[in-house]
Symmetry: C2
Subunit: 220 residues, 2 copies
């Protein structure tokens, strides 16, 4: 532990305690990814913050990418949980979808970096870029599956809405895709262009929710 390392955690771990080192690495990586972004966060920087040598990280992660994947899963679990709560407490199908959109918006704006990496990554490794649309039949224990799970919930909501008697203007999966694309468009824009003088951020969120709901669900 030297005085210049932000979170150095002392010397060598005892036998069997390697997993605590792994968590220290994840914590440091998370901080740095959020501070600097994926590319600017180097293996050496993470290692410095943890207080170990750079190659030590490879004892716990296959590569830099796997660190990010583990972190994304942690974060998306929060969103998945809040969606589950909506499903358990809100019965009206239209209101469910709206609440989903609100939760999604809130999540995206609260976790812009994880959102970027899962849903907006363009110059990051292929295996990360594909996470957002991985099929729900994929192994759910595989890291980075969160994005696809979230989308799958929306599809289910639309299917159930139709079964519940709502009239949809498009097939349920198309409706889900359109809803997601609209909301995603708002999140993506606000995240990617934070300095743009948006007319009214709140109105963009609620407005888009109104627009896609009205566009997808036929008037009663």
């Amino acid at each position: 532990m030297n005085a210049f390392s932000t979170a150095a955690t002392g010397g060598r771990k005892k036998r069997g305690e390697g997993h605590t080192r792994r968590e220290e690495i994840l914590q440091a990586a998370k901080e740095l990814f959020l501070e600097l972004g994926y590319e600017a966060t180097t293996i050496r920087r993470i290692a410095d913050r943890v207080g170990v040598s750079a190659p030590a990280l490879y004892l716990y992660f296959q590569d830099k990418e796997q660190m990010m994947l583990a972190l994304c899963d942690q974060t998306f679990a929060v969103l998945i949980e809040s969606i589950a709560e909506i499903e358990n407490t809100v019965t009206d199908p239209r209101e469910r979808i709206r609440r989903f959109g609100e939760a999604y918006l809130k999540f995206g704006l609260a976790h812009p970096d994880e959102y970027k990496l899962i849903f907006l990554g363009t110059n990051i490794p292929e295996s990360i870029r594909k996470l957002g649309h991985r099929m729900p039949t994929d192994d759910p224990t595989r890291p980075g599956i969160g994005g696809a799970l979230v989308f799958q919930r929306l599809v289910t909501m639309l299917v159930e809405a139709k079964q519940g008697g709502l009239k949809l203007n498009y097939p349920p999966d198309t409706c889900a895709e359109l809803c997601w694309m609209g909301i995603h468009g708002v999140v993506a824009a606000l995240i990617l262009k934070p300095d743009f003088p948006w007319s009214n951020r709140d109105l963009l969120g609620t407005g888009m929710l109104d627009i896609v709901l009205n566009g997808v669900i036929a008037a009663a």
Copy 2:
């Protein structure tokens, strides 16, 4: 010119002919950016294809980024032109906006890499990431301004639509932002997740256009 270099262009340029080398570099860079993406395209690869040494590129461009900027401008000029044609030939305001959206969609899907770099870049240098939302008052000769110019046209269309008597559900700039976000959401999704089993790509485009137009312009 050696037989292994795809587009090597012979020896040293004569005095005053440096600009032709610059164009050769741009051409090679364009090919490689499209083949490999921004990150995977290295200075050395570009130089190899042109048939010069790597540092020679720095005679014509400040850095790798400036090459991409020059290319983005070239491409966006095509979209700007097609929008200008719509403005000149389509008078009905609602139809204008729809045609704008169609042109925008078509452009995005036809030039996914340029689109990614201007509107979706996340791990590319800051100066590129900001291009999409640069203010229209910025110097339009500055490289990479295309994205902002396009958006500005949409705002103008909405303002004129309101002046023309159409009733808008939100302020014109908010309407423009919502329209753009919806369409952008479709383009971004189709570009970023090309392998996802989208229900119906054409329907997503036309559907989103219907949805945002209906959502933004009040029924007659």
